[in-house]
Amino acid sequence: MNTEIIGVVFMFGLTLLLAIPFGRYIAKVYKGEKTLLDFFTPLENAFFRISGINAQREMNWKESMVALLTINLVWFLFAMFVLMVQGWLPMNPDGNPSMTADLAFNTAISFMVNCNLQHYSGETGVTYLSQLICLMFLQFVSAATGLAAAAILFNALKERTTDKLGNFYNYFMKSLTRILLPLSIVVAIIFLFNGMPMTFEGKDTITSMQGDTVQVSTGPVAAFVPIKHLGTNGGGFFGTNSAHPFENPNYFTGIVEMVAQFIVPLAMVFALGFYLNKRKFSWMIFGVMTIGFLCLAIPNMIMEQHGNPAIAHMGVDMSSGAMEGKEVRFGTPASAYWSILTTVISTGSVNSFHDSFMPLSGMNQMLAMMVNGFYGGCGVGLLNFFIFIIIAVFISGLMVGRTPEFLGKKVEAREVKIAVIVTLMSAILIKGGMAIAAYWITADPSLPWLNNPGFHGFSEMLYEFTSANANNGSGFEGLGDNNPFWNISTGIVLILGRFIPIIGPIAIAGILAGKKYIPESAGTLKTDTLTFGVMIFAVIFIVTALSYFPALALGPIAEFFSMH
């Protein structure tokens, strides 16, 4: 094995090793048990007191969702306002302008929903003030929103009958102070040691060795990048995200950034097991997710290492793989691994440019986002996976002719209907948006949208809607997307793609929690077994992979065959 493959195996192993104890810790935090970080309690209490919130009062699922949506609305209005007037505000040494209304709409939504689709470039599109109080702030709180929603799910799955599911604000604040903030500071310190900039000065002007005058953008990068990954946000400080040498200076920071974006989603899977005292159930979920992840990541690493056949044909040395859009310090295997990691877990940060990946690698990135539940984003990944579990429970129940049950609660028509609506909504948003875009560009081919002709151009548009719906935020960045059509259409997809998959699972969980608890018996469907794992995998394959096959056939698959 070469050092690049060993590097990737190490990153995966290290994350898993850290995620298990961290999952135990997260379970303790949400249960309200004693932890090492209890010195934050007075601070949290001060926050609650100033805000006039009683964090002890338990809410039912509907009230939690109202609280969640209300505070998200406040964030959106605040962020959109700041982005539209940022040019006149302080901390703008580079003199960057305010955003247009449609771009501010898209950007504010995109960061609020934990997506970080960026239709601007960090160097020229935002000020330091906006980076910090809009974008970085939203990176903290949007991740905490997802985690709080997952905590409500945990609470609802306990073996009892209730409609009281904890306090949203309490879960939200603890996600911030006990999970995201301490980790961010640790990661920031590692980055500072590795030379990531942390300055409020503007662009520096240097003379290159060849005598060219070059301006170098900089900024408070080392504060921004930790939460960008820990919160599975993914929005870059600079235009080229974690491919930029200031945002990801070396292979070591590359490892840290990959572990950082992976750790919370993975730890949440184990936290579920510790919280409910059903560790085997966690391992079943982990198994399904990991097999799905590897089925996408391994082929990508092989295809990228193989390189572009059209360039191989020209007769150069292809041993480093498909290097277009990739950086030498990461190399092909780590770049291909990152490209799937960032798409399975809704981060959307990139260390290499997905538009230039081989056609089927691009397809795997899209499939990762279409499923959006192999690990998935901070908290929300587990919510998405919960939907697949409900459908699998229902189908299994039908197959054996029993009333479907999950963790001692009957799963009935209403819950399954919600689950199906959530699943179908993704397909409608992605393919519906795609249909409109394809019609538009066909009617007026002069639109400056596509950076590549033919099938690949189709993939650029499909990727954008897939990324928006999955709240991922990566892109086939060649797409000319800073215009009203893309800003508004993806903005709408972003909101629906965020809140339906939060409200739906929480509603199901809330309804289940209110039902009578039936103790396990010989007739109960076991959900922590290999058989059930296979069942979930089959459900995921059928409801996502197959339903997107026609669209993928027109883009990446067609491009693949045109090249071979």
Binding site: L192, M196, Y251, A310, A322, V328, E559
Partner: protein
């Protein structure tokens, strides 16, 4: 909703103060102590081709296209460090493939002693950031004979410089080997 709106606003304001304000200052404070160059990024000094004293950032790649230097990788943005960017060209794009072909041809014109199959693919494809500070050891070795000829230095000396400047995989086992182009070119100028 009404009962949640004022708590939400107050919670938002205080979270901004703490998570965007206090947190940022804490990280900045650490930066002043532990980061190189007060958190502005590592700087290296050099003499430009024109003979002037200047400095650049070790992590920010520069455009090297003169024959006396090790070339850096192609960049989609011409090494514009105030507007990083990738080409975002798809693998089957004809126009892009023609561009790669012409880079290969240019490389061969400037390095007449090498075979086409010696050119590593990263030397004719653009990086992700457009600011890639590195090339691979292979990408450096393939330029040795050109640089030796134009600088009138024995090839062994240049090869030795490459060995000396190769940054090995992390802890010897993780990741690729690489060479910082700016640093090796500074060393090249200092070669007696």
């Amino acid at each position: 909703m009404k009962s949640h709106i004022f708590p939400a606003i107050k919670m938002t304001l205080i979270s901004i103060f703490f998570f965007a304000g206090v947190y940022t200052l804490v990280v900045w404070g650490f930066g002043q102590i532990i980061a190189p160059n007060d958190g502005k990024g590592e700087v290296v000094n050099y003499t430009t081709a024109g003979g002037a004293a200047a400095y650049g950032y070790a992590n920010i790649g520069q455009n090297f296209s003169m024959d006396q230097y090790f070339w850096s990788r192609p960049s989609a943005v011409g090494y514009n460090a105030a507007g990083s960017g990738a080409s975002n060209k798809g693998p089957s794009n004809e126009e892009y493939l023609a561009q790669v072909q012409s880079r290969i041809d240019t490389f061969l014109v400037h390095n007449p002693t090498i075979k086409k199959s010696d050119i590593p693919v990263e030397m004719v494809t653009a990086s992700g950031s457009g600011l890639d500070p590195h090339i691979s050891p292979k990408g450096a070795l393939v330029q040795v004979s050109r640089i030796a000829a134009i600088r009138n230095v024995p090839e062994e000396k240049i090869s030795a410089l490459i060995t000396q400047h190769t940054e090995h995989p992390l802890f010897g086992i993780f990741g690729p080997s690489q060479i910082n182009v700016l640093k090796i070119n500074i060393a090249l100028d200092q070669l007696k």
